[in-house]
């Protein structure tokens, strides 16, 4: 058994939370640069240029890319040969979020659902823990903005609805979201599983490098078709009209009940932030 200290977890989460908010990934920058080249609408092109400039300022001037520094989603893959010592795992993660959002000058965006009183330190994080083979611990911090999360949808379709029904729902979700979730967006789609698994698949699909296809060719085709349909909507960057409403559609799929066809659409704004660290 390999031992990992809770304090190491806290340090890793803190650093990842800060980096995610200040340093846009190379995949995102490349997608924005491509958009600035290929978008046909003049206002859409201008938005892409602004977003590239925004990313540069964020990194150089140490200002978060977006003022919505997100609810912190943390994906933890814990090797089964890892033994965590020196503290409670979830508490260690939340301490990392608390320190990262405090010391990193990030906005604290969590509140009591009814009184709306701010929790003051952006905790609790939403933590998804999986046990995997090996003796390593992988932590991925995903700050998720509220505006795009609000436009996300979950549908329990009938098996008879099939792929056509799935496409219709994904396109409808993006159309209804319109300019609200800060397009150009990334559309995460979860197909199958059950009620909660479909949503988790949709969120997990957003961790993939932007625009990289699903390794399953059958799913990759669905991704391409969905991207084409979504980009026919004409919403465009900032919703001002244009060809690029979405920079990518990512799909994850798994078997479901014979009675069901769950589909989740998790919309990600262009500030796609995720930072991975392996201990």
């Amino acid at each position: 058994m390999r031992q990992i200290e809770a304090a190491q977890v806290t340090q890793a989460v803190k650093a990842a939370a800060i980096a995610a908010n200040y340093e846009p990934g190379a995949d995102l920058l490349a997608a924005l640069a491509r958009g600035a080249e290929t978008e046909e609408s003049p206002s859409g092109k201008e938005i892409f240029r602004q977003l590239l400039e925004n990313a540069r300022i964020a990194k150089e001037e140490r200002i978060p890319m977006c003022q919505d520094c997100g609810l912190a989603v943390v994906f933890a893959e814990v090797g089964q040969d890892v033994r965590l010592v020196g503290g409670d795992f979830d508490q260690a993660i939340n301490e990392g979020i608390r320190q990262g959002y405090g010391e990193g000058f990030l906005r604290k965006s969590l509140c009591h659902p009814l009184t709306r009183a701010n929790t003051g330190d952006n905790t609790p994080a939403v933590i998804h823990t999986e046990i995997v083979p090996g003796d390593r611990l992988k932590l991925t911090v995903v700050p998720k903005g509220g505006g795009s999360e609000n436009m996300s949808r979950l549908y329990m379709l009938k098996p008879a609805d099939g792929l056509a029904g799935i496409k219709e729902k994904v396109v409808t979700a993006v159309q209804e979201a319109g300019p609200n979730p800060c397009p150009p967006i990334i559309v995460g789609v979860g197909i199958g599983g059950n009620f909660e698994r479909a949503a988790l698949l949709a969120k997990k699909s957003l961790l993939r490098e932007l625009g990289q296809a699903n390794p399953d060719p059958e799913v990759a085709v669905i991704e391409r078709q969905l991207l084409e349909e979504v980009n026919c909507l004409g919403i465009g960057p900032s919703g001002l009209g244009g060809r690029i409403t979405a920079m990518a559609v990512h799909v994850l799929m798994q078997p479901c009940h014979i009675a069901s066809l769950p589909v989740a659409v998790n919309i990600q704004c262009h500030a796609s932030r995720h930072q991975e660290v392996i201990l």
């Binding site: 977003l51 990313a55 977006c66 965006s109 701010n118 300019p179 026919c232 909507l233």
Partner: protein, 188 residues
């Protein structure tokens, strides 16, 4: 043709009546911030007949919850939040004399109707460009509800703050026009 207009707050009817959808506006002067929780407080104060922390006549409301300022800085990232969540409160404030709102995303028909009736406009700032936009903010001060943290009402002094006219006083909508221009039928 879309034009670029420099505006300084407080705004007059004439200032907003000259604006058409698609125009670029560069705002200078004082603007106020408020988002969900602050709007609820403002409307609750009005319902109780109590004074607001600011005189709304001719003013501009920016829907934003900025991130904290680093020491020596004016403000952190400060891009717009999604405006529809303020739709149930906005007509009340427009009737009080509010002349412009800055945010992102679609507005309800009630808000668009109020803008027509009372001569006000809705301006869109680039969503997710919080670092870029922050550079146009020259001063920031919390003037009400500090306990709301990022949702507190700030008085901002801005210089050439860039925005696009999404809804003008004639009830037109730039989002609808943009989609009409670029929408095409998907081949299935």
């Amino acid at each position: 043709m879309a034009k670029t207009v420099k505006l300084t707050s407080p705004l007059t009817d004439q200032d907003v009546l000259q604006l058409n959808i698609g125009d670029t506006v560069l705002v200078s002067g004082v603007i106020y911030t408020a988002r969900d929780a602050a709007h609820k407080r403002l409307v609750d104060l009005l319902a109780k007949g109590e004074p607001l922390p600011m005189d709304l006549a001719g003013q501009i409301m920016y829907y934003v919850g900025p991130s904290p300022a680093r020491p020596g800085r004016v403000i952190g990232a400060a891009g717009p939040t999604t405006s529809y969540r303020m739709d149930s409160y906005a007509p009340t404030l427009i009737k009080m004399g509010l002349k412009a709102m800055i945010g992102k995303g679609k507005r309800a028909v009630e808000v668009i109707d109020a803008m027509k009736a009372y001569k006000a406009v809705y301006l869109g700032a680039t969503g997710g460009a919080g670092a870029l936009i922050s550079q146009r903010i020259k001063a920031a001060e919390v003037i009400a509800f500090p306990e709301l943290g990022p949702e507190a009402v700030h008085r901002l002094e801005v210089e050439d703050f860039p925005a696009i006219v999404i809804n003008d006083c004639q009830g037109r909508d730039l989002y609808e026009q943009g989609v009409r221009e670029y929408r095409r039928t998907a081949a299935r």
